[in-house]
Symmetry: C2
Subunit: 176 residues, 2 copies
């Protein structure tokens, strides 16, 4: 149940509407870290407001409600970020596949590994380009859904996956 904290974190960067928050989950945030659809976001914002962790600071055009963190919300975010790392929930379909490669016959395993390496390479190139185009957005998961720290993390993740997949394929091929 990290969705409320994800929202608190995003609102800490800057106030946003539910729509904007929902879109952030479509970007790199949702790709590596946490996903949520707008149907989860809107009710959750309501709960956060009911708990006094966020509040509506502005009602704009098209019924848009801009939410901002309250002091309590900021304190709760801080508490959650600094609290000792209990082994949190992990669900990653892509990584699951990688773990299960060992369950496939050799030829299939090689196919999956090769495809994985290619995809990682492609995503890496794309991410590098996006980052190059937005060099100044130092602290936010913004319009493009990405901050510099997160972008760097993504780049390194893709490199790691690509290199691992190549290594694994080579190893399998060598075993013959």
């Amino acid at each position: 149940m990290s969705l409320p904290h994800a929202l608190l974190g995003l609102l800490a960067l800057r106030p946003a509407t539910g729509y904007e928050l929902a879109r952030m989950f479509d970007g790199d945030l949702g790709r590596y870290a946490w996903q949520a659809g707008h149907t989860s976001v809107y009710p959750e914002l309501g709960k956060l407001a009911a708990q006094g962790l966020a509040e509506v600071t502005e009602e704009g055009a098209r019924g848009a409600k801009t939410y901002a963190l309250t002091e309590d919300g900021r304190a709760e975010l801080r508490r959650w970020m600094l609290e000792p790392q209990r082994q949190g929930k992990v669900r990653n379909e892509g990584v699951l596949r990688l773990f299960l490669i060992a369950a496939l016959p050799r030829e299939d395993a090689l196919a999956v590994l090769d495809r994985t390496a290619e995809e990682a390479e492609r995503d890496l190139a794309e991410l590098r380009q996006v980052r190059a185009e937005h060099p100044d957005d130092a602290s936010m998961l913004g319009e493009q859904g990405i901050g510099q720290l997160a972008a760097e993390f993504g780049v390194r993740q893709y490199e790691t996956v690509r290199d691992w997949a190549r290594w694994a394929a080579e190893r399998l091929r060598a075993e013959g």
Copy 2:
């Protein structure tokens, strides 16, 4: 909804009881890839059996039922593993925190980054040791919950996280 496929994959490695499968999710599989409690596993095994993807091959002591893949189950696993990668579901509380570091005041951010690097370093050392103690278990998420491919993946992941956290902390400190 990858749980059924996770189970098919694990059963493809070798037949197992629900209890054993549930324990595998406590290990590295659950740490990086996919989690599930026994309360999900048992009913899901029942469903897989009802669909003819798995079957009970042995009833042992203490009511233990050993499940194995059927031909259909193996085919379904293969289909799922080879099918094109729709962007699957991702939920990772730890990575979410990393993304939200930018939302914290500088001192807190540095504290989280430093702790992250230390934890990655510690986990890395532990994993390296486990791997060194089980060098021959080349193709399974076995008793120790780990295969060689998965172990190498874990090692690389930890290194990546550690190095990224160090890089990010350094960068933040340099910005002053």
